[in-house]
Amino acid sequence: MKPNNWAIKPKKLATKLNKLASKMAVALSSCLLSVVVCAADTIKVGVLHSLSGTMAISETTLKDTVLMMVEAQNKKGGLLGKKLEAVVVDPASNWPLFAEKTRELLTKHQVDVIFGCWTSVSRKSVLPVVEELNGLLFYPVQYEGEESSKNVFYTGAAPNQQAIPAVDYLKQELEVERWVLAGTDYVYPRTTNKILEAYLKASGVSEKDIMINYTPFGHSDWQSIVAEIKKFGGAGKKTAVVSTINGDANVPFYKELGNQGIAAEDIPVVAFSVGEEELSGIDTKPLVGHLAAWNYFQSVESAANADFIKQWKAYIKDDKRVTNDPMEATYIGFNLWAAAVEKAGTTAVDTVAKAMIGMTAPNLTGTTAVMNRNHHLSKPVLIGEIQDDGQFEVVWETEWVVPGDAWSDYLPGSRDIVADWVAPIKCGNFNTKTAKCSGQNY
């Protein structure tokens, strides 16, 4: 046994395995072959989504989306006269592994851009590495905000692009007076609910009309909590549930709601983590009428969306597959990046990042997405009602696009902080009171 083997030898083996894998995994085939074939002079696109482990359910789709976009771009002739080459790694839903794989992408494969991450914790794990090695990360999922990094572009929704419009809708259109904020116990629901609580109190809702509840990941026994919600909702005022319940816990939650006789007309549930893909694994009959707030729904009728759905179904070779909001965020992010590279004429991170600001790209709902100075997008907000075919019927939408706010105005800690990556501020967390850019040492 010579332990130093691990550091040097198995180059050949890896190449062989690469070839083998490309034969095996149908979805990966074209791209991985290109990894092997195209040795030099390509623009490398890193894909950092979990393909195994608990997050594989959600993230595999995004990996496929990026690969589809890369393929489409190559058909259009690539970028700057070069072909794009996707480098796919699997961080296996393991957070430290996300950091390790990022380092691998940036140092070993020297990718020009990374599309990746889903959970907040994975992004937090990757962040120091991306900043250290000056990479470029596009993050396509709605999140809790409270962050703006020089090296990250956030194409998902910030809380003010999802949670606050949803609450406004419930207040104004459904005249909700009593609120249940139910979430899985992690940072996104915690922050979102903190923001919503402050927002509701600021608009005159009293403490006793707000109920906050947290449950663990994958919670499956919802009997007591649903009974409590039912009791809370039986007090004579219109009640709604704002749900930041994550992933797997949703199915048993909705089932229990249905069985305990809580229909959408009585106590509507508006969810921020339930999209078309999640619904495709659920018997949606008991869910009909419940709501979700996103920046995109598959059911939106626009030419761009129709094309996108067609392209997706053709790429994935499955007519039943659906599209969802994080896919749109990936789509926008990719197009913005491609446009910025064209504009900058290089893939150098600093130049591209500069070109990104103010860059626009059409989104799939018929309007235009703009990358703001705080590295967040301006997007429209849509509220949809779940239908029995697993799709959403849009019942409300904002009149204009809403700019994403990195630092919430409703949290005491971040009220005075703004992100602005254009000179003279050039800072992700600029404190307007002290006029200082705290923490980050750029």
């Binding site: 046994m1 010579k2 332990p3 130093n4 691990w6 550091a7 198995p10 083996l13 890896a14 395995l17 690469n18 083998l20 894998a21 095996m24 995994a25 393909l51 195994s52 594989a56 790694v89 699997d90 296996a92 393991n94 957070w95 430290p96 592994l97 950091a99 390790e100 794989k101 380092r103 691998e104 140092t107 070993k108 914790v121 937090k124 794990s125 962040l127 120091p128 590495v129 250290e132 409270e146 962050e147 116990d185 992690y186 940072v187 915690r190 922050t191 903190k194 947290y214 663990p216 990941f217 949290l411 800690g413 971040s414 902080i417 992700g428 967390n429 705290s438 923490g439 980050q440 040492n441």
Partner: protein, 374 residues
């Protein structure tokens, strides 16, 4: 061959230990020198990525060693050693968090970022004092050590053994995982602790710091290996083996076996905690996922693959499996899980002594053949 690995002559053991230490330090020092002194385009250059990876593997190897000490030598199968590893890591993580000071995104020198945006007003008491490295270093060992002592004292005194003990250790780490997931606990919930800046004033992103941390891990592993070797070669070690093979007999000979088990368990937990504390600054994050029972079971598999009951087997197993994991998850994630699953089954059914057992069997056959030839 009755039960391999235990009836080594003193000479083979010495040779084995010397070889292990030589290889360990040879490789790590070589990598350090090549990383720091050679230019990046040199053929012999070792990238920082590789150095960090090596550091991580060495921590895993130390964790595997910890599990092997109690499982291979005392027959206590702990499915919760990840708990001690993670606790050690959390203490270190808390120290690193305190080192950030006012360089966090909110510029709050009193509170870590995650406490600021969840509206914590002041630092919880259990965070106090952790800005001092030596106190943190003490707590790295003290916290998991006390937990191991408390758990072991209760469990071994009431003679919870075998499968029951395994399931209880699993419950322990599972309960801790759930607890650390709770944001009210003040450990950052699901996100855990991250965004570390420096350790003892050295920038964590610097190549030299990374190399130093990797060398520290190697040193820790080497020391732990030697210490374990000494302990197990003493009469104490023979009592431990005696307890593994016939606990009742040992008890009727006058040994308070529960005390022996408790102290060995604590020793093993300390090794695991040390591994965790070294792991965190190198990977840059610690979160409740490390408490997951699955992780702990995986560690047991590294040991099984390498060969339990031989210290070098545990180390080799940890390195091999993790290396394979790094290689293959990138290339074919699906096949990897199939491979890992089959590895479990094949090793337990066909290679109960792991690779080390295979080696020693081959070795003894060669010796026998040689004897015949002569």
């Amino acid at each position: 061959m009755i039960t391999g690995g235990n009836i080594f002559t003193v000479a083979t053991l010495r040779a084995q230990t010397a070889l292990f230490v030589a290889v360990l330090f040879g490789v790590t020092l070589y990598a350090s020198v090549c990383n720091l002194l050679l230019p990046q385009d040199s053929v012999f250059y070792v990238s920082t990525y590789t150095v960090t990876l090596m550091g991580k593997y060495l921590c895993y190897a130390l964790l595997a060693l910890a599990v092997d000490v109690i499982w291979g030598y005392c027959g206590i199968l702990s499915l919760g050693h990840g708990a001690f590893f993670a606790l050690g890591g959390y203490v270190m993580g808390m120290y690193l968090m305190r080192q950030i000071g006012d360089r966090g995104v909110y510029g709050n020198s009193e509170l870590p970022d995650f406490m600021v945006f969840l509206n914590w007003q002041e630092l919880p008491w259990y965070w106090c004092g952790l800005d001092h490295f030596w106190l943190a270093a003490l707590l790295v060992l003290l916290v998991p050590g006390l937990l191991a002592f408390g758990f072991g004292w209760l469990a071994f005194r009431s003679r919870v053994a075998g499968v029951y003990l395994s399931i209880m250790t699993q419950a322990l780490t599972y309960a801790l995982m759930l607890a650390f997931f709770r944001n009210e606990m003040g450990f950052g919930g699901n996100n855990g602790l991250t965004d570390f800046k420096d350790i003892l004033g050295f920038d964590l992103q610097a190549d030299t710091t990374r190399v130093a941390l990797m060398l520290c891990s190697a040193l820790a592993l080497g020391t732990a290996y030697l210490a374990s070797r000494l302990i197990l070669a003493s009469k104490f070690g023979r009592v431990i083996l005696a307890i593994r093979d016939a606990e009742d007999r040992a008890r009727f000979l006058g040994f308070r076996t529960q005390d022996y088990k408790v102290w060995l368990f604590v020793y093993s937990a300390l090794l695991a905690a040390l591994a965790g504390a070294l792991y965190v600054p190198q990977v840059g994050i610690i979160n409740p996922g490390e408490f997951s029972p699955l992780n702990s079971i995986e560690v047991v598999v590294w040991v099984a693959v390498g060969g339990r009951g031989t210290l070098y087997g545990a180390v080799v197993g940890a390195l091999l499996v993790n290396y394979a994991k790094t290689r293959f998850t990138g290339v074919m994630p699906e096949a990897w899980l199939f491979a890992l699953g089959s590895l479990f089954v094949l090793v337990t059914v066909c290679l109960p002594k792991g690779l080390a057992g295979l080696l020693s069997r081959l070795g003894s056959r060669r010796r026998r053949l040689a004897a015949v030839d002569a």
